[in-house]
């Protein structure tokens, strides 16, 4: 660190530092802090874009929590989708990473890692369109395969049938192995010291038992990272649902984020949409705080065992 000089020079040095940080700070004030303030403020009003706002107090919040019919079904959908999302993202990519990691040659390991990374170059919206137009469509991949196998009676309009729409969303992305997760788990597995593996082998701890008792606890921090990212993504993400089902049929696949979007940009209820955003923020913040607490205790536990 540069030793701070005394008196005026010190102050002018601080001023020049502040000046250089000013663009960053101004951008944050304008494009993050101001919208955050507005979200809270405008959630107390009822207004369309361009028209005069009417103060309604907490009526927006009450309406969302008590009256609006899609609220609770959509919360349930969000919870189910997030739960399933967490479940698959903590297992499938980890198993794939472990299988790749257990191969003897670096060359094949590298090729597999590359193969599972390729899907990230395809724009997310293209993948979603692909699943809705090619895989789940009436004449899509699944139905064609079923017809070819003589199971024509099993075909469904997967995303339009109220009985299958939510399940279809859960299976979106199957087998859940394309993307960053495999790489992140792989990095975690690579970081396990060779001495640990040797000790495990000496004790006769191999295969699935070794995976569950040694590998999984040692990639706990990677598992937690994916867990947090998936939960937050599950609570606030709705782009995929917007493209795949638009929340339908009915409210069968509606989630709170998408309902916020519709209220703002389809029904022109900006204040109401802000209120939904604030409520989602409160939930996310609460879970983050819970997680921080859990995070520390888990870290201590890990420190204790190793």
């Amino acid at each position: 660190m540069k030793p701070p000089a005394a008196g005026r020079t010190r102050l002018s040095f601080a001023a020049s530092c502040h000046l250089l940080l000013l663009p960053s700070v101004l951008l944050l004030l304008l494009f993050i802090y101001l919208p955050v303030m507005w979200a809270f403020l405008k959630s107390l009003y009822e207004f369309e874009v361009g028209s005069k706002a009417r103060f309604v107090g907490l009526a927006n919040y009450l309406e969302y929590l008590v009256i609006d019919p899609p609220t609770w079904p959509s919360v349930l959908n969000m919870a189910l989708l997030t739960l399933v999302g967490v479940g698959v993202r903590l297992t499938f990519p980890l198993i794939v990473a472990k299988l790749i990691h257990s191969l003897p040659f670096e060359r094949t390991r590298y090729l597999y890692r590359l193969a599972f990374l390729i899907p990230i170059v395809v724009p997310g919206v293209a993948i979603q369109l692909l699943w809705s137009r090619m895989i789940y469509a009436d004449y899509g991949l699944i139905n064609e395969v079923l017809r070819t196998c003589g199971l024509g009676a099993w075909t469904h309009s997967w995303l339009n049938d109220p009985r299958t729409a939510l399940t279809a969303l859960m299976f979106f992305g199957f087998p859940f192995a394309g993307g960053f997760e495999v790489l992140i788990y792989y990095a975690g597995l690579s970081a396990i010291p060779e001495s640990v593996n040797e000790a495990a082998a000496l004790e006769g701890c191999t295969g699935v038992g070794k995976f569950l008792r040694i590998d999984v606890p040692l990639v706990l921090s990677q598992l937690k990272l994916i867990f947090v990212l998936t939960v937050i993504g599950g609570l606030q993400g709705f782009e995929g649902i917007f493209v795949l089902t638009q929340g339908g049929p009915g409210f069968r696949t509606m989630v709170p984020g998408l309902w916020m979007y519709y209220n703002a940009f389809a029904f022109q209820r900006m204040g109401y949409a802000c209120a939904i955003g604030v409520l989602l923020f409160v939930v996310i913040l609460g879970l983050t705080l819970l997680n921080l607490r859990y995070f520390r205790s888990a870290e201590e536990m890990q420190g204790g065992t190793s």
Partner: protein, 314 residues
């Protein structure tokens, strides 16, 4: 490891890889077929590719006989090899050419938006992180806290008010409606990652450079930047991936088509009349993946090295 076990592992991995990548193989394959082929059957080789293969084979074996081609009306004609090649090539690329006409402005807009955002994030992020990491001054911790605290606010909280703000500023249907919020949000992660890396650089480097008479600017330019290439590659690739794939925000702040980017443009395209032609849509998916594919061909190695060398702490 026992042989049977190795085979089992390969079998599982190959099956998973095939299931992961098969949809994309279908897309590229169907991008080369026309509508009638697609609706006849979902699977199958592109006829134009088969035809082109036949022509190439005739050239390779110096076979001069004419070939039968079918016009769009289905009428058969006997033509020479060169014309047949042109015919099949035109059929093979028909979807891509139709898709490219629609996509080209979107791709250019995406380059402008993602490129300028990455530039802004690199300059602002690394500059701010350097000052915060290597200098001690009044209010430093407060400013760092002020910057980091924004990570608490999820996008879902600011989506609607940000739209209202951008509208009030008169920025709807401009590049700035995307670039400015992207830079504002993107620099935070960049500052976080850069700062922890810069702070870990050994002080001796800086001291000896200072003894040689290097100023603040020279320290940043000649010491910090050359050492930070892996971190830059990780931060910039993450940033470009995020902005390139962002679909919702461009979709919201572009009410007309002029500044629409690739992701939102694809969605608009899929809902327009062009989407009636399956081949065109599949070609569009394929074309839209090429820019990031190129980026990855060049950047995978430094990116993976940056992520796993411990230079970047997430």
């Amino acid at each position: 490891m026992r042989r049977g076990r190795l085979i089992a592992i390969h079998a599982v991995l190959l099956l998973t890889a095939v299931m992961t990548l098969l949809p994309f193989v279908f897309v590229v394959n169907n991008a080369l077929r026309d509508n009638s082929e697609y609706y006849r059957s979902f699977f199958g080789r592109p006829e134009a590719a088969t035809g082109l293969g036949r022509v190439v084979w005739r050239y390779a074996t110096a076979d001069q006989r004419a070939l039968v081609i079918r016009d769009e009306g289905g009428e058969a004609r006997l033509v020479g090899r060169a014309e047949a090649a042109g015919h099949y090539w035109a059929r093979l690329t028909a979807g891509s050419r139709r898709a490219w006409v629609v996509l080209r402005p979107y791709v250019l807009n995406s380059f402008v938006v993602s490129g300028l955002t990455a530039l802004g994030v690199a300059v602002l992020g690394s500059g701010a992180a350097y000052i915060l990491a290597r200098y001690r001054f009044l209010g430093r911790n407060f400013i760092f806290g002020f910057i980091l605290a924004t990570m608490v606010f999820p996008g879902v909280l600011t989506l609607v008010p940000s739209f209202l703000l951008v509208k009030q500023l008169g920025l709807l249907n401009t590049y700035w409606a995307m670039i400015l919020p992207y830079v504002a949000g993107g620099q935070v992660f960049a500052i976080f990652v850069f700062r922890s890396f810069f702070a870990g650089l050994p002080e001796e480097l800086f001291e000896s450079a200072r003894l040689d008479g290097a100023g603040h600017w020279a320290l940043y330019w000649h010491i910090v930047l050359p050492l930070s290439k892996p971190v830059f590659s990780v931060v910039l690739i993450m940033n470009i991936l995020g902005t390139w794939n962002n679909f919702l925000w461009p979709f919201i702040v572009n009410t007309d088509d002029r500044h629409q980017v690739l992701a939102s443009g694809l969605y608009t395209m899929a809902r327009s009349a062009v989407a009636g032609s399956a081949g065109t849509m599949f070609a569009a998916y394929t074309l839209s993946s090429l820019p990031l594919l190129v980026l990855f061909v060049y950047a995978t190695k430094p990116f993976i090295r940056g992520l796993t060398s411990g230079a970047v702490k997430l």
